[in-house]
Structures are given as C-alpha cells and as structure tokens.
C-alpha cells in the first residue's frame, strides 16, 4: 500500500469531485436515441484523429509525391485501403450527423437562453468540420482535389474587401502550388484539430455547466425519476452508439472503398468539377448567381445561423406563439435541399 500512497501523493486527484463531475445524472429524455446526435460527431472526431494519424505515417505532402503516397496507401500498405476508406466515410457521416444534430437543436429550440453562446460555438464547430472536409479532400491531389482547391481559393479571393489577402493566405501565394499543399496539410492536421478540440471541449463543458435541458415528452409525465445514472445506463447507450457507428463505417469501407481518380493535372480541367456533397447547395448557388451575390449569400446565411438565438428571441418577442422560428427553419431546410437536389440532377 506504500505504492498507492505514493500515487496519491505525486498525482493528487480529488476522487469525490471526479465522481461528482462524471456521475451526474442524465435527464430522462436522453434515453431517446435522437439525442445521440451530439455524441456521434464527437466520437467520429476521435475516429478521424486516430485514422488520420495512421495515414500520416505514409502521406507525403509534396506536390509531386502526394498522389503516389495515397496510391501506396490504397494499393500496397496492409489494410491501407481499409483505413483510408474509414477515414473517408467517417468524414462524410460526421458531417451528416452534425447537420442532423443542428437540426435537432434548432427544432427543439435548445439554443435559447442561457445557451446562446454554446449554439455559436456549435456553428463554429460546424464550419471547422466543413473546412476539415475541404482541406482533407485537397490533400489527395487527384484531379478533383486540385480543381476544388482552385475553385475554393478562387471564391475566397472574390470575397469583398479581404478577398485578395484571404486567397493569397490560403494558397500561400497567387498560384496553387507546393505552398498551397503545405498550408492545407498544416490546416488539416495541426491547426484545425487543435482549434476543433478546444471548441469541442468548450462545447461539452458548457453542456455540462448548463445541465442538459430538461424536456418533457408525452408519456413521460408519470415517470417518477427525472433522471437516470450515467453509469452504467448512459455508458451502455454510448457503447451501442459507438458499435453501431463502427459497424456502419466498416461495412461502408468494405462495400464502397475509397477510390483514386486521375492525378492532378494543372493543364487539364476536367469536364465536370464537383465538390463534396456537403458543398452542393453553395456550389449550385454560385452557379445561378453572379460572383458577388454568390459569395455574399453564403456569408449572410452563416451570419444568420450564427446569430440565430438572438434572431429567434426577436421574433418571439414581436410575434409570440406564431412559431416563426419553426417556419423559418422549415423554409431554410427546404431551400437548402432544393439547391442540393438541383446540383445532383442538374449539370
């Protein structure tokens, strides 16, 4: 027991405080599976970090070697195709889960006071995840990667006022080249993970600090206990979620492994440039409007999204009981879906 004593002395931990912090009871509505949509992206962030670190073992961030290194991973390294496919699918599902999570929070109005700041951190997390997707896809340096970089940085450059500086900063110059790849690599494996990890930490802390909103659903009124224990109940729930996600990821990796297109060729623009699916609405919007409106539109949208708790409060005060937020949300979803579908079926 001298050993235990030594541990307690050199690494003091307040056991009671620890238990209190982690074993806090979970409100009953979290038994509903719909509420797992917050933990899902967080778990997938961990999956991305781990698979991402593995991929860094072989990826070479040099313009004339990047594609070849991905080819090595996909075709030669043991289980390379598998790890890469999980990384790819996990990124897609993470964004899908995030969108569903945002929808859940939006339509249950759990962004309301005092949770406005947490909502804003959430929007930031969403944007960070989109940037993860964009930078990661470019690192492959196949044709689609290169031209996505070209279009993406072109859009950035066209932003009013700060456009030129922003474009040059992202590109590492006025042209896409090695410095662009280095920057994208830096963003993808260092800056974005760091900022995202911090933002996740703040987001989770705020959730715990505020306590999860207690909501009542039909059929719950007769329940005595308003909460249930973290361990083992909620842990089991989380484990189920984790296992389901793993099964889905592995199955998708098996059935639809990540492919490798043609190597990037700055002299040959492919006939159909398309970004990843989560950029379709914006992409379509840019096609139907002129450049300025095309850029200001999404900026405006993000602005609204970011400040939504306050806009919602404004409507609540002016038009109480009219459920304005709900309808704005519905219209917003329909519009985005419309543009999304347009991009899929259009050309």
């Amino acid at each position: 027991m001298a050993f235990k004593k030594w541990i307690a002395e050199s690494f003091p931990v307040d056991q009671e405080a620890f238990i209190k912090l982690t074993a806090e009871p979970i409100p009953n509505h979290l038994k509903r599976w719909w509420w797992g949509l917050g933990g899902t992206p967080m778990y997938m962030f961990f999956v991305q970090v781990i698979t991402g670190i593995m991929l860094v073992f072989y990826y070479v961030p040099e313009a004339d070697k990047a594609y070849q290194s991905i080819s090595y991973i996909t075709n030669e390294a043991d289980f390379g195709w598998f790890i890469r496919s999980i990384h790819r699918w996990s990124s897609n599902i993470m964004i899908a889960a995030l969108i569903l999570h945002m929808m859940r929070v939006f339509f249950t109005q759990t962004y309301r006071r005092p949770r406005e700041m947490n909502w804003m951190f959430g929007v930031v997390l969403f944007l960070l995840t989109l940037m993860f997707g964009f930078t990661g896809y470019s690192l492959i340096f196949e044709q689609m990667s290169y031209w996505a970089m070209k279009v993406g940085t072109g859009i950035a450059s066209a932003t009013p006022f700060i456009g030129e500086w922003m474009g040059d900063f992202i590109r590492g110059g006025s042209e896409i080249g090695q410095s662009t790849l280095t920057r994208f690599y830096l963003f993808h494996i260092v800056l974005l993970p760091m900022i995202t990890a911090l933002a996740i930490g703040v987001h989770v802390y705020l959730i715990r600090a505020h306590g999860v909103s207690e909501l009542k659903f039909k059929g719950d009124e007769n329940e005595e206990k308003k909460s249930f224990p973290l361990f083992p109940d909620h842990v089991y729930t989380e484990l189920i979620m984790v296992t389901v996600i793993m099964v889905i990821l592995v199955t998708l990796a098996l059935l639809f492994p990540a492919q490798l297109g043609e190597e990037a060729n700055p002299n040959k623009t492919p006939l159909h440039i398309k970004p990843e699916w989560y950029f379709y609405p914006v992409f379509r919007w840019l096609k139907v409007t002129n450049l300025t409106v095309g850029i200001l539109g999404p900026i405006f949208f993000i602005f609204i999204l970011f400040l939504w708790p306050f806009i919602d409060r404004f409507f609540e005060k002016r038009l109480p009981g009219k459920e304005v937020s709900f309808w704005i949300g519905v219209i917003g979803m329909l519009t985005i879906t419309f543009f999304f579908l347009l991009e899929i079926i259009g050309h």
Partner: protein, 144 residues
C-alpha cells in the same frame, strides 16, 4: 452483480473488446512497414571458364562480395565473403586454402566452416543454379 449477470456482461463485452482489439491489430499492421522481398537470378560465369576446384572472386557483383568455387563436374558453391562475426570482408588465402578475416582473426575453410576465431557461424551460402553450363546465383533483395 450475481453470477448470471456477470456472465451476461461477459458475453456482451468480450466480443466488443475482441472487435476493438481486431481493428487495433489491423491498424498496427497498417502502420508497420511492408518489406518486399525479391529473389533475383544473376548470371555469374560459364563453367568452361572455371576449372574444377578453381575459385572466382566477385568483388562487387550487383553490390555483393562473394566467391564461387567449382566443387565438381557440375557442382558450384557460392559463398558470401562477409565475415559472420562483425561483417568485415574475408580474404582468400590460396596457399592455406582458407578464408582469413583480418579484423578479429577469424578463419574459415573453403566450404565456409569456421576453423578458429570468434565467428559464430559458417559463411553464408548463396543458392546456385546450373542452367546448362551457365552458373546463376540467386540473390534476395528486400525493400521497405
């Protein structure tokens, strides 16, 4: 928790643990470097150029130091001249019909067997193939 409960927990969590162990093993396999081995058949000499019991030294045959001995009518041995002690190059002493390593005075006979000194094992043999009268040696190269 009673015994039944404990058993149920085991049935639930052992597969989960195994699955995660499995995927971890796959990950470790992934990040472990792949060694590729290629066996190459290198032409050395035509038998007509080598009398029985004669030797021919190759100082840098595709990066290797070796010696071949025609031990019979249709028998050739190929010995590596890298000392099995610490890797110095042994020299052939024709008068004594032995290999001598100057680094720590290891001595091998003409078959590569250790006669004296610190070398722990005989000189390495290369696989030899006779294709008609052409003597081929098999080299193993690894990359990765």
């Amino acid at each position: 928790m009673d015994r039944r409960d404990a058993l149920k927990s085991l049935f639930a969590f052992i597969p989960l643990g195994a699955a995660f162990a499995g995927i971890t093993a796959m990950g470790v396999g992934f990040i472990s470097p792949n060694k590729r081995e290629v066996e190459r058949r290198i032409f050395t000499i035509h038998l007509d150029e080598l009398e029985i019991n004669a030797t021919r030294r190759f100082k840098d045959l595709r990066g290797r130091d070796l010696m071949i001995v025609r031990t019979g009518e249709n028998e050739v041995k190929a010995l590596s001249t890298v000392c099995t002690h610490l890797g110095c190059t042994v020299s052939w002493q024709d008068d004594k019909q032995q290999f001598y390593c100057p680094c720590h005075q290891g001595i091998f006979d003409k078959d590569g067997k250790v006669l004296s000194g610190p070398p722990p094992r005989p000189l390495d043999n290369y696989k030899v193939e006779l294709d008609g009268k052409n003597v081929f040696i098999y080299f193993k190269d690894t990359e990765g």
